[in-house]
């Protein structure tokens, strides 16, 4: 796996380390393999490893970006290790770290606190201030906080796009409804969805909106209503008036107003997601991310655009994000940081938009013409919606128990979304079950 070229000086130490790693697995003891971590940037040739997840487009984009980095720092070669499935990614990275073959730079998203809490990645605050990198001016007020744990910055934002509203212009025109804007209230959403829902003889032919059990959906409504998941000390604060109201409205969209499909309706439609329903022209509005542009573009005759999310008490939307972190086991953290600094710059982020991979985290790039009028798009798209939503992004309650917490939510919300419980009962149950879950980490 590791490329040994250019590291011949360290070869013997490395193999000793490798034997140590095997011994670690066998004896289950801990072997520290420190073979002279250099805190200073190297002058001679260095090889670093960077782990990311994704498909063919992601591979192309990261390769292009690393080639640009190589141009800037000719002595640093970064080898890309791509894991095709995001689901397998954490498992693979963790196994690699345990086996002593962890990467130098790694892409992280929701699991940043898991790695940070176990000291598997380095806090970057000192390096950031030494390099005079101001993350807030580069990435906005909210996005850098997503990658913080216990007050320290553990990753530099890389890709980050707010979730926005995709709307079908043709259906809106037919129903004579004005296009969605950030000024919409929940009431505006509801009345538009009502006009956009078409029923024929007991079956619904066209839906106004879609409510699903995915966290970026229902959590946005909670945050828009001033609700929270965890309080400032990290204790669950789920069972609040604001959250009850939000879930009541959310569930009513499907069951009371019938403008969104119920789980049963979705199962009858062969478990399609909102993205597919939207592509089929059966859904007038959906919440989704940057990635759906390519899919929506590929559907012939689909006339659509995007807008920032409506607001409730206050604007709030979730974001899709990934950041770059430095592994504790990296022998060249200073070089790794230099590469990361470049990848965060306008030049380093440019291939992300040229290849339509994702929304770049750097706001300057999000505001550039190359992003706002992309050459790859066959039709004009209101790309400004992403930048305009940046201020509304809420920082999700990421902790090392994130996945476990979401399971508690999904288990209980699925019962509510079948209309077999009430928001009060559901949130009380979640609050009660989250207690032991959140405690288990500390």
């Amino acid at each position: 796996m590791l490329n040994r070229a250019g590291r011949s000086r360290m070869a013997s130490k490395e193999s000793a380390c490798r034997i140590g790693a095997v011994a670690l697995l066998v004896s289950l003891g801990l072997t520290a393999c420190s073979s002279g971590t250099s805190q200073k940037a190297s002058t001679g040739p260095v090889t670093l490893h960077m782990s990311v997840w994704g498909g063919a487009v992601d591979k192309k984009v990261y390769t292009e970006r690393l080639a640009l980095a190589k141009k800037k720092y000719p002595n640093i070669t970064v080898k890309l290790q791509l894991v095709p499935s995001a689901d397998d990614y954490n498992q693979k990275i963790q196994t690699a770290i345990v086996g002593g073959k962890g990467p130098d730079i790694l892409e992280l998203a929701e699991t940043t606190p898991v790695f940070a809490d176990k000291n598997e990645i380095l806090p970057l605050d000192d390096k950031l201030s030494a390099a005079k990198m101001d993350l807030k001016s580069m990435f906005g007020d909210k996005v850098p906080n997503i990658f913080q744990w216990k007050g320290k910055q553990y990753a530099v934002p890389d890709r980050s796009g707010a979730m926005v509203v995709y709307y079908n212009k043709k259906l809106f025109n037919q129903a004579k409804v004005g296009y969605p804007t950030a000024n919409w209230s929940w009431q505006d959403l509801l009345s538009a969805a009502q006009k956009l829902t078409i029923r024929q003889g007991g079956t619904t032919k066209q839906w106004g909106f879609s409510t699903i059990d995915w966290w970026p959906y229902w959590m946005s409504f909670m945050y828009q209503n001033g609700g929270k998941i965890l309080d400032s000390s990290g204790k669950p604060q789920v069972n609040s008036k604001q959250n009850v109201q939000a879930l009541q409205f959310y569930n009513d969209l499907a069951w009371k107003y019938k403008v969104a499909p119920t789980p049963r309706d979705l199962a009858n439609m062969k478990n399609v997601g909102p993205d597919q329903l939207f592509a089929q022209g059966k859904l007038a509005m959906e919440i989704t991310g940057f990635w759906n542009i390519a899919a929506a573009n590929s559907v012939k005759g689909l006339d659509w655009d995007i807008a920032p999310l409506w607001h409730g008490q206050s604007p709030a939307t979730s974001a899709f994000f990934s950041g770059l972190a430095i592994s504790r086991t990296s022998k060249h953290p200073a070089d790794a940081f230099k590469v990361m600094q470049f990848l965060a710059s306008s030049a380093g982020q440019r291939p992300i938009i040229d290849n339509a991979e994702d929304a770049p985290a750097n706001l300057q790039v999000q505001a550039s013409n190359a992003f706002l009028q992309p050459t790859w798009s066959k039709r004009p798209v209101n790309m400004k919606a992403f930048g305009e939503s940046a201020g509304a992004i809420f920082v999700p309650p990421l902790t090392p128990q994130w996945n476990e917490m979401l399971k508690v939510f999904t288990d209980n919300l699925d019962v509510l979304f079948k209309n077999q419980s009430t928001p009060q009962k559901t949130l009380a149950a979640i609050q009660q079950q989250l207690g032991p879950v959140m405690k288990s980490g500390s």
Partner: protein
């Protein structure tokens, strides 16, 4: 008695002299045995025995995959049996699934094998059709079943409606999600049908003829000859089916993710989540060892009772 003992000692003496003569050759043969079997033995020791023992050790530790495991004695097991709000529900689900799926698919596969044993024109086509689903990858058939089991538009409920039954919402219902998974397990009985069919074709036709002459009807022939002769194959199918059912994973992972509200959560998907999604590898290891003990216990139980219902022809000949 006396003749028997005499016979036995005579055979013993003959064997002893043969053993002396053959010892050199036997030793050589044994050496070759170990040479031939060594790739597997080494593979087992390196790739299986090591991780096996390691997981036993991990089951007594708090291990998050990132920091070194910390010994906590019986902590994981105490949490499992005492505190974990889901463990007993998950065990209940898994036992329920196994207890129904294994007998049902055993009966269905014997029935299918009996039907496919007849010599009717085109029987090969039917045999192929029955085996075909076993060739479809589990992921694909799981996707297929989300369509078959859809509440109102699904094939199954539409068929039930024709005979006046209003079908349940299957995968969305806490009551019906396990029966739905059991139904799906029948989809791939093809493999056991093939084994049973081979077993049936191995039964000498004289047995049937003799029984017919004695006046046995076809049910009696099936009950008194076919079933006893097949019982070793049935035992094999039951044990393999039981182990496979206890380890059910893909169907749950793809179709239901354990939902609704953990009504279809089974032991293996549960321990997978604990280990790889919640970073509780110590607890996941403990769960896997408990699963191992459960499977061993049921296997032993089936073997114990098997002497009462499994018939080996060789035992009669002896």
């Amino acid at each position: 008695m006396a003749t028997a003992r005499l016979g036995a000692s005579r055979i013993g003496a003959r064997a002893r002299s043969r053993r002396v003569r053959r010892s050199a050759r036997a030793r050589k043969e044994a050496a070759w045995f170990y040479v031939m079997v060594s790739p597997w033995l080494i593979g087992f020791l390196v790739f299986l025995a090591g991780p096996l023992l390691a997981s036993l050790y991990f089951s007594f530790t708090d291990y998050d995959l990132l920091t070194p495991p910390r010994w906590i004695g019986l902590g994981n097991y105490r949490y499992m049996f005492g505190t974990d709000p889901l463990f007993w529900k998950v065990v209940g689900n898994t036992v329920f699934y196994t207890a129904i799926a294994v007998p049902v698919s055993t009966v269905v596969s014997i029935g299918l094998a009996a039907l496919l044993h007849r010599s009717v024109p085109g029987i090969r086509i039917f045999r192929t059709i029955v085996y075909l689903p076993s060739l479809v990858p589990l992921v694909a058939s799981a996707m297929l079943f989300t369509w078959v089991l859809a509440p109102d538009t699904g094939l199954l409920n539409r068929a039930l409606r024709l005979i006046g039954i209003h079908g349940p919402a299957w995968l969305l219902s806490e009551t019906w999600v396990k029966p739905a998974l059991i139904l799906m397990s029948l989809w791939s009985v093809g493999t056991s049908v093939i084994l049973l069919l081979a077993g049936m074709q191995g039964i000498p036709s004289e047995f049937g003829e003799a029984a017919r002459i004695d006046g046995a009807n076809s049910w009696q022939q099936f009950r008194r000859i076919t079933l006893p002769m097949l019982s070793p194959v049935i035992l094999f199918n039951v044990i393999m089916g039981m182990i496979g059912s206890f380890q059910i994973f893909s169907q749950v992972y793809i179709l239901t993710k354990g939902g609704p509200d953990n009504a279809s959560e089974m032991l293996v998907p549960y321990l997978f989540d604990q280990g790889f999604r919640f970073n509780k590898m110590g607890y996941a290891s403990a769960l896997s060892w408990v699963l191992f003990v459960i499977i061993m216990a049921f296997t032993a139980l089936i073997f114990r009772t098997s002497s009462g219902w499994v018939f080996y022809e060789s035992e009669v000949r002896r």
